[in-house]
């Protein structure tokens, strides 16, 4: 009984102290940051979160938003919706949050209604197509998400770009007949997000779309699924999963001996995963929204300085998810700067700031972030997808760019 009394007393004391420590500070705006560093998506979540956090720390260390500091708090919500909601409410009611950097499908979708009502722009890494239709113009859109932004092409648009590339690849190889296309992924909102949209476009381009193959988000033995891919004679397989699940898929399919051109979503391909898979990564196609760490573009200097915020030696090599986190934070920064000059940094003004410039690259990140355009009725910021190819030979990962696909901004693709 002593023990439980003591525990209860400590817990309540801690809660009270936390409640009191939330005093507002002078000339600072609060940005909440939800990250998954210990949950199911931590494999890439940690990298992306580091990018966002380092960028915000760097902005603070270098003059802030034209003199206004960023007061930010990173919460590891471990991909649990209740914790995301509680953190959001805490920030909203106690810290006067003006914008939020979010993470995945779970938290972003749970908060859509709240952020729209509270007028708090959310920059997340959930690239679901249905977040791009702020006014609900497309009949497919169930819920308009006027305050949701993300840097990058939506999952659907990335998949369309990959399909477009695949169609060209099929022609270049001089193959005959209809290429077969299969969606591979768990039956969950994240892998499923581009499924229908991408299959539709693939059919339009003359693919023979096969029934999708379901593999778990968790690593496992996927030989049975690989056998069904083999028997269906799939030529191009789109991977909707990430992390360990992709690793298992490649390994299982190599054992089975399939001959599929794998194409993954943006989270399914990076140096770390190729190193983890090792032998067997052959011409693995994946999209990115930024160049790689070692590429020679002018903006990479700033990214490397930002990286020093958490890695003072400057030796760490960051994956492209990190760089995308930096871009996400910098678009928010420049929208806030616009807001400061046009009526003050509030959620509604930051949203307007996102529409102020067209074909827009944050200052200092030239060549790193792709030129983006957000409109008040179209939140498809990026319509360009860089396609890369990963290989693993003799203990070495090699990554090369194979194509850049520009997608038209078709009206029927908005929010879908």
């Amino acid at each position: 009984m002593k023990l439980s009394k003591l525990t209860l007393a400590t817990l309540s004391a801690v809660t009270m102290m936390a409640a009191n420590s939330a005093a507002a500070k002078e000339d600072k705006v609060f940005v909440g940051h939800l990250a998954d560093m210990s949950g199911p998506t931590a494999f890439v979540g940690k990298e992306y979160a580091d990018g966002v956090r380092d960028a915000m720390a760097y902005i603070n260390a270098n003059g802030g938003i034209k003199g206004t500091g960023l007061d930010f708090e990173t919460v590891d919500y471990a991909y649990k919706v209740p914790q995301a909601i509680a953190s959001y409410k805490k920030w909203k009611s106690r810290k006067k949050m003006v914008a939020m950097q979010g993470w995945g499908t779970a938290d972003t979708e749970a908060l859509i209604s709240f952020v729209a009502r509270d007028k708090i722009p959310v920059y997340s890494a959930s690239y679901s197509g249905h977040l791009t239709d702020p006014k609900g113009k497309n009949p497919h859109t169930k819920k308009p998400a006027p305050y949701n932004f993300f840097y990058g092409a939506s999952y659907s648009d990335s998949c369309r770009a990959l399909v477009q590339w695949a169609a060209k690849d099929w022609k270049d190889k001089g193959s005959k007949g209809k290429p077969k296309f299969t969606h591979i992924g768990a039956n969950h909102p994240f892998p499923n997000a581009p499924k229908a949209a991408c299959a539709e476009y693939a059919t339009e381009l003359g693919f023979d779309v096969q029934p999708s193959v379901v593999i778990s988000m968790k690593p496992g033995d996927f030989k049975a699924q690989c056998l069904s891919l083999k028997s269906s004679g799939t030529h191009y397989g789109y991977i909707g999963n990430l992390g360990g699940s992709v690793m298992s898929l490649i390994k299982s399919c190599n054992t089975v001996g399939t001959d599929i051109q794998f194409m993954s979503n943006i989270w399914g391909g990076d140096r770390k995963i190729f190193e983890a898979i090792g032998e067997g990564v052959k011409d693995y196609i994946f999209p990115t929204m930024t160049p790689f760490w070692d590429s020679n573009v002018s903006g990479m200097k700033l990214v490397k300085n930002i990286s020093k915020m958490s890695d003072s030696s400057g030796t760490k090599s960051r994956p492209h998810h990190y760089i995308r986190g930096v871009c996400s934070a910098y678009y928010m920064k420049e929208a806030m700067e616009w807001a400061k000059d046009n009526g003050g940094i509030t959620g509604a003004n930051v949203k307007k700031g996102m529409y102020a410039t067209q074909n827009w690259v944050p200052k200092g990140l030239e060549g790193v972030c792709l030129p983006a355009t957000w409109k008040d009725d179209d939140h498809r910021g990026i319509a360009e997808v860089n396609i890369y190819k990963g290989n693993f030979d003799k203990d070495n990962v090699s990554i090369e760019q194979v194509d850049t696909v520009s997608l038209e901004r078709r009206a029927d693709w908005l929010g879908y």
Binding site: V14, I112, P189
Partner: protein, 358 residues
């Protein structure tokens, strides 16, 4: 007896069954409960949205957890699919509202009944199997329903999720934390009183009889199949109501989140609170909702200090936080196997004879 205001005084003997099954043991406890609820009505004027959202969480999770406690704690069955039923209630309510334009106030109970039907369907194996076998059968329900959410575009919106309108009564919309708080409070009190009353009825006693000794119960004329199935139905009804409240609070339901982990969390809540105890259920839910928040608060306290601001340490604390939650649950099971409700009774007994213990 000044210190034992909420205790049952000496010489308070019950002479009828009616007296023995009152919800509140003494008048004082009843007055305390009524005062507490009256006081809770003023909470939105004092507390900010953060505390209100925690209370709302306690409410919808608590209602669902009470359902599970009726099934596990009172009837002695087991379910590993409670999270999926919770999700089914959420989608069903949103679906009824958008497809048939039924007002949300009616959608919530209707969603409860729909979930009840689904729960009874998946509870049917309970008529023939029990224990671990039943656990696996209900586990199947979890995966089947979860997969259904992902595929049934007409019902759940598939990967895009579905929209849930806020509750609207006579033109007043309950779309802020302050207003929804009252919905949550009403639902919580209503469903808990209903739960208490259920346990005082013939059906409630039948549940307990099935749990304690099903052979004797059967000999006494309790229809085992009927009551096992009914228990599944009631349990899912509660889950459906909890889920529907969750949906209309968020305004949006996505298939993410209604996973096996949620089902296990519900089980953890009833075990920590106390199996077969209605007030224990509420204690367990409060505990499970506040624990991660208290951990988060202590982590952010360390972050405020000068050494704590280092990113390496902050990341480390994030892991410690997750581990600590697991650790607390394990410690609870070792030192408090009968749950918080049991501990609460012991605390009461301790103070009853304070300072002169027997």
């Amino acid at each position: 007896m000044s210190t034992s205001v909420t205790m049952r005084p000496c010489g308070d003997f019950r002479t009828s069954y009616k007296q023995d099954t009152t919800i509140f043991e003494t008048k004082t406890i009843r007055w305390f409960a009524i005062l507490a609820i009256a006081f809770a009505c003023f909470a939105p004027f004092i507390l900010d949205a953060y505390y209100l959202t925690l209370f709302i969480q306690v409410s919808y999770l608590g209602i669902a957890a009470l359902g599970l406690n009726i099934l596990v704690g009172f009837t002695g069955q087991i379910s590993l699919g409670h999270g999926a039923f919770f999700g089914f209630g959420a989608f069903a309510s949103a679906w009824l509202n958008t497809q048939f334009n039924i007002p949300v106030v009616f959608c919530i109970p209707l969603a409860g009944f729909l979930t009840m039907a689904v729960g009874m369907m998946f509870g049917m194996p309970a008529a023939r199997i029990k224990g671990l076998y039943l656990a696996i059968a209900t586990l199947a329900a979890q995966f089947i329903i979860e997969d259904f959410f992902g595929r049934a575009e007409w019902f759940s919106g598939g990967s895009a999720g579905s929209l849930a309108e806020p509750i609207n009564i006579f033109g007043f919309t309950f779309d802020t934390d302050e207003s929804f708080y009252y919905v949550a409070l009403f639902a919580l009190v209503f469903m808990f009183i209903w739960g208490c009353n259920l346990m005082r009825t013939r059906d409630g006693r039948a549940f307990v009889a099935v749990r304690d000794h099903y052979l004797s119960a059967e000999i006494m004329g309790v229809k085992l199949n009927k009551y096992r199935l009914l228990s599944f139905g009631i349990s899912s009804f509660y889950a459906g109501i909890g889920g529907a409240l969750y949906a209309h609070y968020l305004g949006y339901v996505s298939a993410e989140g209604f996973t096996i982990f949620m089902s296990i969390q519900f089980l953890a809540m009833v075990i920590i609170g106390g199996l077969g105890s209605i007030k224990g259920t509420l204690m367990g839910v409060v505990f499970m909702v506040l624990l991660p928040e208290a951990m988060e608060a202590s982590v952010s306290l360390v972050k405020e200090t000068s050494i704590g601001a280092h990113p390496m340490l902050v990341d480390g604390l994030a892991y410690i936080k997750e581990m600590a939650i697991g650790l607390v649950i394990i410690l609870f099971l070792i030192f408090e196997p009968e749950g918080l409700a049991h501990r609460w009774n012991q605390i009461k007994n301790y103070w009853k004879s304070y300072p002169f213990a027997y």
